[in-house]
Structure formats: structure tokens, C-alpha cells
């Protein structure tokens, strides 16, 4: 009788230990999965900001939108729009994961060109970052 009770206690203890350990592993798995998602999101956002920042500097340097192709030779130009794709190492790549789009509006004749720069995930189509800037090209100042 006493031996049976001992065996039952042993099994019960082992069961509880296994349950606790499995719970720890499950929580840890979810924790690590969430960390991976956060880390990937942070990496993508950093890269997207970096690309948008570069594009904004190119816009400031180009002064005129038609000069942008000189600074971004891998870009595909359309009317009032320019697109470039970059890989994960931020090198221009026609099949790259990041799609950088620059849209501008030259309808105003006051010389101020507003730019909208977006970076999206080319595979999922999800927008990662959006930046707005403007360049005044009509200054006749000294």
C-alpha cells in the first residue's frame, strides 16, 4: 500500500514537472517569436528610414526632379514619379525587397516642389515609412 502511494507521488511529481517545463518552453517560444518579429521590424524600419533619408538628400541636391536620375541612376522614372528597388543590403536590385518611391508635384508655379517619399516592402506591399519634404527651386537670391 505504502509502495503504491510512493509510486503515485513519483508519477504526480514527474507530471507536474513536465507540465511546468512545457509551460516554460511554450512561453519562451512565444517570447522569442515576438522578439524576432520586433527585431525584424526594427531592422526594416531602420533600413527604410535610411533609404528615405538618402532620397530626400538627393531631392535637395538635385534641385530639379529631372536631375534625380543622375543621382539615382538605377531608378525607373515615370511622370512625377521615380521608383528604385533595393535588396536587404541596401544595394540597388530590380528584385529587391525594398521599393522606394518618390512622388513630386510641380503643378504649382511658385518654384516649391513638394516630395513624398515612401518605402514599402515590395513583397507584401506594406508601407514601412513615409517622408515628406520640399525643395524651393525658384530662388533668385544672391
Amino acid at each position: 500500500m505504502k509502495k503504491t502511494r510512493h509510486i503515485t507521488a513519483f508519477y504526480l511529481e514527474t507530471l507536474v514537472l513536465i507540465c511546468v517545463f512545457m509551460a516554460v518552453i511554450l512561453i519562451l517560444t512565444r517570447c522569442l517569436a515576438a522578439s524576432k518579429t520586433s527585431r525584424e521590424g526594427a531592422g526594416q524600419l531602420n533600413n527604410a528610414v535610411y533609404l528615405a533619408h538618402n532620397a530626400a538628400e538627393a531631392a535637395a541636391e538635385a534641385q530639379e526632379p529631372r536631375d534625380l536620375l543622375r543621382l539615382l541612376p538605377d531608378a525607373k522614372a515615370e511622370a512625377h514619379r521615380l521608383t528604385v528597388r533595393y535588396d536587404e543590403g541596401l544595394r540597388p536590385d530590380p528584385e529587391g525587397i525594398f521599393l522606394l518611391s518618390m512622388n513630386w508635384n510641380t503643378s504649382g508655379d511658385d518654384g516649391l516642389i513638394p516630395y513624398e517619399i515612401t518605402v514599402e516592402n515590395a513583397r507584401s506591399g506594406q508601407q514601412i515609412y513615409r517622408l515628406e519634404t520640399a525643395v524651393y527651386t525658384g530662388r533668385g537670391a544672391a
Binding site: L17, C31, G41, L112, Y136, A141
Partner: protein
């Protein structure tokens, strides 16, 4: 009736130590990843604000250019102050300010003498029991 005591064996202790180690590792990984994400979001917001100020500065240049070409004094533009012939405009967004200073070089032309981003710093009001000197 005698109760059989449940004793923790060596295996149980080992599992407990492993569980604690894994939990600590998980919490550290998670908090580091969250900190990375927060930092990236902060960088993204700072960059957005920087170019928003830049766009406002460029719009101010347009307004200034139109004003001088039409013979309107720069000091009449919104938010512009004049001191010793230098027209100053500050564009604030977030914690930073874009300082723009223009100087007239002729009847209808001006030059940019300052285009600088700075951070606004305000001394803390309550410094506790620090000796004021």
C-alpha cells in the same frame, strides 16, 4: 493517515534551474528587441520631423522670395523678426528648431546667412536641494 511527502529530486532541481535560466534569457531577448524597435521608431520620427522642418524652411524661402520680388518687407512675413538688417525665422517641430537668417543684398535679392538646426534646451525648474552657487 500518513501523507507521503513530495520531495524535490535532483532532476527537479535541474529542471527548475534550466527553467529559470531560459526565462531570464527570454525576458532579456524580448526587452532588447523591444528597445531596438523603440529606438528605430524614434529615429524614424526624428527624421520625419527634420524633413518637415526642412519643407517648412523651403516654403519660407519661397514666401521670402515672393515678398522681396513684390517689394514687400521681409519683416512683414509671419514669425519673422529683424535685428541689424538680419531677418530671422525659427521653425519649431519636436524638440528641435530650424534657425533661418536672411540678409538683403539688393532691392529684390537676399542671401541666407544661417540655416541651422538646434535643440531647444530649457533648464530644469526643480533642481532639488542643489546648491545654487
Amino acid at each position: 493517515m500518513n501523507q507521503t511527502p513530495i520531495k524535490l529530486g535532483v532532476l527537479a532541481l535541474l529542471l527548475l534551474v534550466i527553467s529559470i535560466c531560459l526565462s531570464t534569457l527570454g525576458v532579456l531577448t524580448f526587452s532588447t528587441a523591444q528597445a531596438d524597435l523603440r529606438l528605430a521608431q524614434r529615429y524614424a520620427e526624428t527624421t520625419r520631423q527634420q524633413y518637415s522642418r526642412e519643407a517648412a524652411g523651403q516654403a519660407f524661402l519661397r514666401d521670402a522670395d515672393l515678398a522681396v520680388k513684390s517689394g514687400k518687407p521681409l519683416a512683414e512675413l509671419e514669425g519673422v523678426t529683424e535685428e541689424d538688417g538680419v531677418y530671422r525665422k525659427d521653425i519649431r517641430e519636436g524638440n528641435s528648431v530650424l534657425h533661418i537668417e536672411l540678409r538683403m543684398t539688393g532691392q529684390s535679392s537676399f542671401e541666407i546667412v544661417r540655416w541651422e538646426t538646434g535643440t531647444e534646451w530649457a533648464p530644469e525648474e526643480n533642481t532639488g536641494d542643489l546648491w545654487g552657487g
